[in-house]
């Protein structure tokens, strides 16, 4: 217990808690419609793109967040277009794009700074990544994601459940999908440096999957996914502090444990 309290004596851990809890909440909420619409791959693709963007930003000396946010937002629109276009096979196209972005990121880094611990921390996350301005920006954006999600909750439900019906009754489906990809892009960029490019997509997918095992109404699934995600993040961060393991991986393992528990509960 004393050990737990001493943890909060470090300002960087407090910052990590604040940003991480908000980002995992956002990711879990957005994850529900994304998983249901079979867009899970988009989250994964976005994280690879944001790795590439981050690597380029560092190599060129741009501020990482200000550079990667627009790039990832653009990529999100593009990925959504690919996913909607049934003529090309969407999953293959997304895989190609994410691998290319990753490759660009690696080449740029190795040509400039070389494969340093920086790259390692982009890939697998680092708790030290957050400075004060990042925290302010992250909290603001995360709050915006939350407000927009709550505000458009019913529309997102309708569009997720049945696009053609919504379109026929005059809901502007394209607008909501754009909103969804925009919010996802922001969440991925914000969460990526703590969770790591390789692991951030699990924050989007796991809570939704776990909640869907247990609950049967959309609202309950959304609530459960959000709660589960925040709880798992806090547990993961604590575990990573106590055992000196990387944050991202610890959180993912907590999510995995929660998923397995949910599977067992859902069986009954």
């Amino acid at each position: 217990m004393k050990l737990l309290l001493s943890m909060f004596a470090y300002p960087f851990i407090v910052r990590a808690f604040a940003v991480g809890a908000l980002v995992s909440l956002c990711a879990a909420l957005l994850g529900v419609p994304l998983v249901l619409k079979r867009y899970s791959m988009i989250g994964d693709g976005l994280s690879h793109v944001s790795f590439g963007a981050l690597a380029v930003a560092v190599a060129c000396g741009f501020a990482p967040l200000y550079f990667s946010i627009p790039v990832v937002v653009l990529a999100a629109f593009f990925l959504l277009r690919i996913a909607e276009n049934h003529r090309v096979s969407a999953d293959a196209a997304i895989a190609v794009l994410s691998a290319s972005a990753l490759a660009i990121g690696i080449i740029v880094t190795s040509l400039t700074t070389g494969m340093t611990t920086d790259v390692d921390s982009y890939m697998f996350g680092s708790i030290l990544a957050m400075d004060r301005t990042d925290v302010v920006l992250s909290v603001t954006l995360a709050a915006a994601v939350l407000v927009l999600f709550i505000w458009f909750y019913h529309a997102l439900f309708a569009v997720t459940f049945d696009e053609s019906f919504s379109r026929a009754t005059g809901v502007r489906v394209g607008r909501y999908k754009t909103l969804l990809s925009l919010l996802t892009a922001l969440t991925v960029v914000l969460g990526m440096r703590m969770m790591g490019a390789m692991l951030i997509s699990s924050l989007i997918i796991f809570p939704a999957l776990s909640a869907m095992r247990v609950f049967r109404s959309f609202r309950a699934v959304v609530f459960c996914a959000g709660t589960l995600s925040v709880v798992c993040f806090c547990l993961g961060l604590t575990a990573s502090y106590l055992l000196s393991t990387p944050v991202g991986a610890s959180v993912v393992l907590c999510d995995l444990a929660a998923f397995l528990i949910c599977c067992v509960i859902g069986r009954k």
């Binding site: 459940f161 019906f165 109404s217 959309f218």
Partner: protein, 236 residues
């Protein structure tokens, strides 16, 4: 009042990228009509439906749907794979029918909630309202989706092959419900279907679409027409 038109097609050519599937199509739907759209696979039924719903622009001519502009159009689409394992209660699905471009609020109004309950009662799914959509039978799911369409529709209901995947009893049930809505509630119905006997039995008018040609008229006119004799006759 009765001269009002809910949906009209004037000399419209429909299709993709300058390859019209249907040309010079003209017909209209008025309150209380019951139209079945029939035709072989690939004859342009889904293209027609998309155009009527405003999802696809006609290549030429004009399609006007005052019912859609007035937000009085309900639509029962074909089910998608994603819906089959969707975690949502029946009530959540039905209420989502009230959503359209005009209204936006976080809570549904009391009037909307009671209207939803009324529709659910009418279609016999009221006791299912707390159940999960994915656990219902095909027939029940179709009823739930019909309820949602009713929440959106006051005047015109468009259905896309509603009996696909239903067993015969559930299909008959659905037809009975539609007839009730049409006769008692004066709801205009436009239904795309492969079920020819049912179309001839239930509908007042038939729109037959075939490659490049089309026919629109009452059931009796259709059966007397060359295309109707060929297509409707052999199926009987």
């Amino acid at each position: 009042m009765e001269n009002r038109i809910l949906l009209s097609c004037r000399d419209a050519s429909l299709g993709y990228e300058n390859e019209p599937l249907l040309e010079h199509l003209s017909f209209s739907v008025a309150p209380g009509d019951y139209v079945c759209v029939v035709g072989e696979n690939g004859s342009g039924k889904s293209t027609l439906l998309k155009s009527l719903l405003g999802l696809l622009r006609p290549l030429a001519g004009e399609i006007d749907c005052p019912a859609q502009r007035a937000m009085e159009l309900g639509y029962l689409p074909q089910q998608t794979a994603a819906q089959r394992d969707f975690p949502a209660t029946v009530e959540e699905v039905v209420l989502s029918g009230f959503l359209n471009a005009r209204t936006h609020r976080f809570f549904y109004t009391a009037a909307q909630r009671s209207a939803a309950l009324m529709h659910m009662g009418k279609l016999g799914v009221l006791e299912l309202r707390r159940r999960c959509y994915r656990e219902l039978s095909g027939g029940q799911q179709q009823r739930v989706l019909l309820c949602r369409a009713l929440c959106a529709a006051k005047e015109l209901l468009i259905l896309d092959e509603p009996v696909t995947g239903l067993d015969p009893a559930a299909a008959q049930d659905l037809y009975k419900t539609l007839r009730y809505l049409n006769e008692q509630e004066h709801l205009a119905i436009l239904m795309v279907t492969h079920d020819m006997p049912a179309a001839l039995r239930e509908a007042k008018n038939i729109l037959h679409v075939g490659k490049g040609s089309w026919f629109y008229g009452t059931v009796a006119e259709y059966l007397a027409s060359p295309v109707g004799k060929r297509f409707g006759g052999e199926r009987r």
